[in-house]
Amino acid sequence: MMSVTAEPDAKRARFVWAAAFVIGMGIAGGVINSVHLGLIGSFVVALVPMLLLIPMVRSAERAQLAIGCATPATHRYNRRMLVVSFGYLLALFVTLGVTRRFEVQGPLLWVMALLPTIPILGMILAMGRLLVEETDEYQRMRFVRASLVATGLVLVLASLWGFLEMFNLVPHIWLWAVFPVWAIGLGIGQIANRWLFGEPGC
C-alpha cells in the first residue's frame, strides 16, 4: 500500500508527464511545420514526444493506485489506449506520406482517408470495453457521468459552431474535431466528478 506522502507525489508526477507530453507534441508540431525533414524525419520527431505517453500512463496508474480507484478494467483500458495512440500516429503518417508523395485517387484514396480512423475507432472501442468490463459499479458510474458531460459539451459546441459557421461568422472546422473535443469533455467530466464526490477520478 502507498504511504500518505506517496499520493500527492504520484498525482504530481502524472500531471508533470502529461504536461511534458503536450509541450513535446507542440514543439514537434512546430519543428515539422517549419523545417523540411521528410516523412521519416517528421515521423521520428513526432515519435519522441509520443514515447512520453509510456511514462505518462505508468505514472497515471501509480496515481490511480495511490488514489484507490485502480481496477483491472482501468489497467486494461490504459494499455489499450496506449497501443491505439501509437497506431494513430503511424496511420496518420502513412496517410500523409502516401497522399503527399503520390497522386492517389479512387479506392486507394478512400483507404488512405479512412486509415487514421481505424485507431480512433480502437479508442472508442476501448472506452466501450471499459464500460462492459468494469465490475466496480462506482467507478463505472463515474466514467458514465464524465462521458455524459463530454457528450453535452460536444452537442452544445457543435450546435453553436454549426450555426455560426453557416453565417460565416467562424471558420470551418473538420468533423473529426468532434472526438478530441469529446475527449477534452471527458477530462472536464472528471473534474465535475471531483466537485460532486470530493475525490479525484481515475
Binding site: 484507490g68 480507484c69 466496480d136 459499479e137 462506482y138 464526490f197 475525490e199
Partner: protein
C-alpha cells in the same frame, strides 16, 4: 438526492479492516468503499447483498431505510 445512511464504517472497524481490506473482499476499489461509507454513493442491490453477506447481516441492519429514517424524524 436521497442518500442511504449506513453502518459500514462501524462494521469495518469491528472487524479491524482497513478500507483497502474491505475493498479487496468486495472486489471493488478502495475509493468505492469510501464513497459508500461516506454516503456519497448508494450501492446497487447486488453490491448491498454482497456487503450484507460479507458481514453475515441482513441488509437493513447495515443500510437504514430512508422511509424509516424520515418516520423516526417525524
Amino acid at each position: 438526492m436521497l442518500i442511504l445512511e449506513n453502518r459500514l464504517r462501524v462494521l469495518r472497524a469491528e472487524h479491524n479492516w482497513s478500507q483497502q481490506d474491505l475493498a479487496e473482499r468486495l472486489e471493488v476499489s478502495r475509493q468505492s468503499v469510501n464513497a459508500v461509507e461516506t454516503g456519497k454513493y448508494d450501492p446497487s442491490l447486488p453490491l448491498a447483498f454482497r456487503i450484507a453477506e460479507l458481514f453475515d447481516l441482513p441488509i437493513e441492519e447495515i443500510f437504514v431505510s430512508p422511509s424509516r429514517r424520515s418516520s423516526k424524524a417525524i
